[in-house]
Symmetry: C2
Subunit: 421 residues, 2 copies
């Protein structure tokens, strides 16, 4: 049986948009991968009445309820008391939690105050989920067929409790149905074009299989879900569909794993023992940030000359003054030079360069906001492209970054194929 699961996030800061609810996204992804069927995420106010009503409703929809937030040293947290009352359980000092808090604060050279001491007060009927990263433990309650879990809202504490305590417990105690999914990561086509290309294939998918389009700037992820009894049968069935898909859009697919284009590029560069550097202007460090967000990226990423100002392009990167005057910083001529100069300066195999008008200011008649030039230089060639994106600064930066990395991906894949011949 597939276990219906609801995530309840507590906190006014999320309702009024001052904190992004990354916890639910992380929990949803992990729970789904284990086969727990997340049917709803409810974000609610940090008020006893609202917490109680939400638990009552969630119990009608789900057998596993995971709450985050509302636990912490400061006064705006009321969850623990509410849960104790809801489950008719007395709050008592847990000596193991108290010892842990004292030890943790000691290692950080912080002295224990009353707020910290109160965190060792735990409802006596709950199972404690140890929090090795913080002072607020997780709590697990069983109520008939329902399991209710309360976790602190600080993301790295919540994640650590899940990995070390909750998930192992769930997999042992709350069995669920087999579900399976595969991701196919694409770049280069907008959603509606991709959908038209895939229409016929999608209409002939097996009945226990469904497709979802997940667009983000420059990328459309495809998720293929399947339900069934046996993992082997589901896997084979999905494999067959993905082979058909590959024949329709072979070049647009950059990965069959749920990963960013920067991760895929990292894998290929590592395999080839090649290095990369960047010379960013309009993307302002975003490509460097993407590439270096991957653990181990220091094996292939060497650095960047971030030439934001005109003078930096000239003095540090050595772009020709005449070329800058004649064509402007956002031009095919300059972007080719940026990539070539960066490749030599940084002493790398490949260099990625960007220059454009991200907006909202800086546009002209011939180069409106959203005009972006990108180039990639290798030992053998420089490929440059001009794009016309939209009016949104953040989106332009993201789309430019993905477009530049996609050119890099194609060049290194071609070089890899040459090497393997």
């Amino acid at each position: 049986m597939s276990i219906s699961t609801e995530i309840i996030t507590i906190g006014d800061e999320i309702l009024i948009g001052q904190t992004l609810d990354t916890n639910s996204a992380w929990l949803g992804e992990r729970l789904n991968a284990y086969g727990y069927n997340v049917v709803q995420v409810s974000t609610i106010q940090d008020k006893p009445g609202h917490i109680v009503r939400s638990l009552d409703l969630a119990k009608q929809r789900a057998d596993l309820i995971i709450m985050t937030g509302g636990l912490g040293p400061t006064k705006d947290d009321r969850t623990k008391k509410t849960l104790a009352e809801y489950f008719n359980s007395e709050l008592v000092i847990s000596n193991s939690v108290l010892t842990h808090i004292r030890k943790l604060l000691g290692s950080r050279k912080v002295s224990m105050n009353q707020l910290n001491k109160d965190q060792a007060l735990i409802p006596e009927d709950c199972q404690i989920l140890n929090n090795s990263e913080g002072t607020a433990p997780g709590m697990l309650f069983r109520d008939g067929k329902t399991t209710v879990v309360s976790l602190p809202g600080v993301p790295y504490e919540m994640k650590s409790i899940c990995e070390k305590e909750l998930f192992p417990w769930l997999r042992k105690n709350v069995e669920t149905d087999a579900k399976f999914f595969r991701m196919v990561m694409t770049t280069g086509y907008p959603e509606s074009i991709l959908a038209a290309k895939l229409k016929n294939w999608e209409e002939h998918l097996p009945d226990n299989c469904s497709l979802a389009y997940l667009p983000s700037p420059g990328i459309v992820k495809l998720r293929l879900d399947i339900w069934g009894e046996s993992e082997d049968v589901m896997e084979t069935s999905l494999e067959k569909e993905i082979n058909k898909l590959h024949k329709i859009i072979p070049k647009a697919i950059y990965s069959y794993a749920h990963e960013g284009i920067e991760e895929k590029i990292g894998e290929i560069l590592k395999e080839m023992h090649r290095t990369v550097g960047t010379a960013e202007s309009c993307t302002g460090g975003n490509i460097a940030k993407m590439l270096t967000s991957v653990p181990g990226s220091s094996a292939y990423y060497k650095g960047s000359v971030l030439a934001y100002a005109y003078e930096t392009k000239r003095d540090l990167l050595g772009i020709d003054q005449d070329c800058l005057n004649k064509y402007g910083a956002v031009s095919e001529q300059v972007i080719r030079q940026m990539a070539e100069k960066a490749r030599r300066l940084l002493n790398v195999d490949y260099a990625v360069a960007t220059s454009g008008i991200a907006g909202p200011g800086g546009g002209t008649d011939t180069k409106p906001v959203g005009t972006v030039c990108v180039a990639v230089a290798s030992k053998d060639q420089v490929i440059a492209k001009r794009f016309q994106f939209g009016s949104h600064r953040g989106r332009n930066i993201e789309r430019s970054s993905v477009a530049a990395l996609n050119i890099l991906r194609k060049i290194i894949l071609a070089d890899l194929a040459k090497n393997q011949k």
Copy 2:
């Protein structure tokens, strides 16, 4: 009367954590600022039954219901049909929407397919909210005292409809109570230390006033809410409390506006007509990305030498080989040089440098993962600091970036004060 508001987000991709729900955060922030009281965000499955049940429940909690997602050209969208049935309304072709779709696709040089044509089918009893950025319009239904709005899930389309169509309509047609809040942005203290410092002040806040702590890596935002009749009275009352707060933690507060430390720094640099550059290692471009995410940052941000590799530090930044050998790349000696060299190379007034072990690999006994050195160089001085952060790569990058920017903030504020004497 304060209008209770619920946001309903439709989409399996959010439930299973493959898309982050940034729409609700944005909507929550904007609605709250206008005085609409967001009481719940419900993220639900893209299934007619679930949509209908969620609408029924939301109507018990809220008078204004805003749904996002489930509208778009691809097959996985069922919202529009469900809403038409829910409100007993026939789907009919809207000629104005059809004309708009044709025009929009034409400008993008994309030809219209059947999927796009179907987007012009609209429930006849709804009010159309024009979508100038995309093909799926917003729809507004009135049902007794309840207003239900359905918007597409693509963030920039949803935001554009809100700004141009929905918010002006709401402010004219759905009046709400006065609420007021102020943000105080702090850096330098962890949440529990800050809470202990503010305990006495917090306990003496007026009854119609409440405080929330919103921690993120390196930053704790404080939000002070107040409810009342007159905006003037509320504003004066909050002003008084904020003056008291300032006296308790004068140096930790970097802004009284809801903004990042990079935005505050930008304002000060603009005022001073000074420039800044960066020499990042472990933060991998994150500081550059933060600084350049601010529109208009090209007025003060000139560029960066992102020296990720050892050789890049030596060859491009010109760090002394002996110093690198003797002390290692993560050392106070090297970080001082990085900041000084970058200041000269980039020809800027201030340079920010970082070098550290972000993890998960690369740690040693004397320099474990999380060891980070940061420095800021100005004309007069170089300030360097060593930090010991935790084991999480992303968090270490964020905390290092904020710590480095906080040193920059203090130096430029001191320079500004000198100038003003």
